[in-house]
């Protein structure tokens, strides 16, 4: 039965991921809810990101949407920090790791909520302006 749940969690997270939102950020708590340990969940998220992003990246390169200028300045320290972070994960108690992740997704949720509400308000004002101009 958990086979179905795991695929469904992936499916739900993938839908948001396919729409350009952080699907992986949702996959981790969803898989955690069905009782899979935090380390395995995080590893699954990292690995599941690889095939999809490789394909998407080829398309983005073809469409000239990737800006490579200056990126080594981000990538090099980021790789060092990510290795440090991943090593720290395994030295961290699962309960503490879960609390850190819970705090992270909650803050992220609040931030995304504010961004969406602001964008919706902006759209409404734009529409009102357009109607007024037409009148």
């Amino acid at each position: 039965m958990d086979v179905v749940w795991i695929v469904l969690c992936g499916l739900a997270a993938g839908v948001f991921g396919g729409m350009g939102m952080g699907g992986g950020t949702l996959l981790i708590p969803l898989l955690g809810l069905i009782g899979i340990n935090q380390y395995a969940v995080q590893a699954a998220n990292l690995i599941s990101f690889l095939p999809m992003s490789a394909v998407v990246l080829i398309i983005h390169f073809k469409n000239k949407l990737v800006e490579t200028k200056g990126t080594p300045l981000i990538i090099v320290p980021a790789v060092a920090a990510t290795i440090g972070g991943a090593i720290l994960t395994h030295a961290t108690n699962e309960k503490i790791l879960k609390i850190c992740f819970a705090g992270f997704v909650f803050v992220l949720g609040v931030w995304q909520f504010v961004v969406a509400v602001k964008a919706m308000k902006g759209k409404k004002e734009e529409k009102t302006l357009q109607t007024e101009e037409r009148e």
């Binding site: 997270a13 708590p29 969803l30 898989l31 990538i75 990510t82 290795i83 991943a86």
Partner: protein, 121 residues
């Protein structure tokens, strides 16, 4: 490129890299707005460039998780199958739904997931 911009790029890399490695994800969500601000990229380019930045990070951190024996291949492969299927559905729905409404639903999911996870830990 100005020294200030260079330092901002390095700082952005460290922040996105650490979160991605320590929490197993979320680096992309941080990288997109940072790239948009620091490199002054439009939204679509910021998204595409973020994937270019996050892909090597995910490979590096996945290697550490693998080395530490944290990978459960059954869970990983099943979840990946779901993510790929969901990704296709999401891409097809992209222009059919109001992006802000989807973002709003997504944000509520994230907040609920955070609260639920905190309570269960």
């Amino acid at each position: 490129m100005e020294m200030k911009t260079k330092l901002q790029l390095v700082g952005s890399g460290i922040a996105a890299g650490f979160v991605n490695g320590f929490l197993g994800g979320g680096g992309g969500i941080i990288a997109v707005p940072l790239l948009a601000i620091v490199m002054a990229l439009p939204a679509k380019k910021a998204h595409a460039t973020a994937i270019f930045v996050i892909l090597p990070l995910s490979i590096a951190s996945a290697a550490v998780y693998l080395f530490n024996g944290s990978v459960d291949w059954r869970v990983t492969l099943l979840a990946t199958a779901g993510v790929v299927g969901g990704g296709v559905i999401g891409a097809l729905l992209l222009n059919k739904l109001d992006n802000n409404v989807v973002k709003l639903i997504f944000s509520v999911f994230l907040m609920a997931a955070g609260v639920r996870m905190f309570l269960s830990s």
